[in-house]
Symmetry: C2
Subunit: 183 residues, 2 copies
DNA sequence: CGTTATCCCAAGTAACTCGGTCTGCTTTAG
DNA sequence: CTAAAGCAGACCGAGTTACTTGGGATAACG
């Protein structure tokens, strides 16, 4: 029931991005994301491209460019990220809701295995599809604040020319406004 | 969050074995298990060996031999089978209860990802560690009975010389008696 | 303009895993 | 002795994973 490294890196990067955004650093370069969580930058790049193509991430090119969330973090369920990178949540195809696939067993109608695996898939979905990136970021920030800390990614962005970066960031068209929390 | 084919085959074979046992066919040859669920016999064999070494399965060699459960089906949680074949249930090592492993993130104490993945691992465990093979077999048998059917594996064993097979089966030392149901 | 920091994209790749097969035993009932 | 079973383990091709490499395209800044 493993999550791939790719999936893990995607979640780490997005979590950092969401926290940075919550602290008004909306545009974060790949290098900062990679360093903050000690992930191989070139590998992470592929993942971020995939997330952009999936409409989860937006990017700004050129000097002082970087990545930002394409939508408010509160509208990005963790399950969407995992599905995008690692495929369906269900342990076997015939138990999947979003990507059902017939399995090899001769009699699916009477297959107890399928029933139990549907339970598992629902249990997973009940966690991953309920939590959003915003909640995940909020919880993590609370933990950090409690110990008087700031996310490493934010530290790293601080060193950069902030005034210019802010100008670039300001150009991002539909300023992703955070709607009210609703859970 | 996939279950491997190996894990799937293990569960299918054990489910058939448990159903066969519930219908007084305690000793089932590899060939019947493989055919009943259309699994490649030589591959399945490796899996069954692994399950025997793990103390889940017992085997009887020689003509009219076969496999049987090493313990009552009610004492074999599905989670144990999955862990044995596919490793820990947790999506990432640092969220595992039974096989914790430090992850690469620089600050595990404040890692929100870990928290949510522990939720996932608990959700999975709440399904797989609560259901036993006996319950799985019972549910499946009920479904079959409702439609007047019998598990294919039992059909297949029927064709074999039953009197001899029963004699062989009788030799299995501590007749795995089914204790009272306790859920 | 050129430099520099950034993202974009496609290809390559080493190691590993998956899903098996093949070969040749040993054990046991008849 | 033979047939039916399990045992042991080497082998293998294809795919996946987790990366790296290399060569652009963009955009700010001097």
């Amino acid at each position: 029931m493993k999550l791939s490294k790719k999936g893990e890196y995607a979640l780490r990067a997005l979590l950092d991005l969401a926290m940075a955004q919550a602290l008004d650093r909306t545009l974060v370069p790949l290098s900062a994301l990679a360093e903050a969580q000690r992930m191989p930058a070139t590998f992470l790049e592929q993942i971020l491209v995939q997330l952009r193509q999936a409409g989860i991430l937006a990017s700004t090119r050129g000097k002082y460019g970087g990545y930002s969330l394409a939508r408010p973090a509160s509208e990005i369920p963790i399950g969407e990220i995992v599905r995008q990178i690692d495929g369906p949540l269900a342990p076997i195809g015939c138990a999947s809701v979003t990507a059902y696939e017939r399995c090899s067993c001769p009699d699916e109608a009477h297959c107890g295995l399928r029933l139990i695996m549907m339970d598992v898939r629902n249990a997973i979905s009940n966690v991953l599809d309920r939590y959003t990136l915003a909640q995940l970021a909020e919880v993590t920030l609370q933990h950090l604040r409690r110990d008087g800390l700031v996310p490493k990614v934010v530290e790293l962005v601080r060193h950069l020319d902030l005034s210019t970066r802010a100008k670039v960031a300001a150009k991002i068209p539909p300023a992703p406004l955070e709607p009210e929390f609703s859970i």
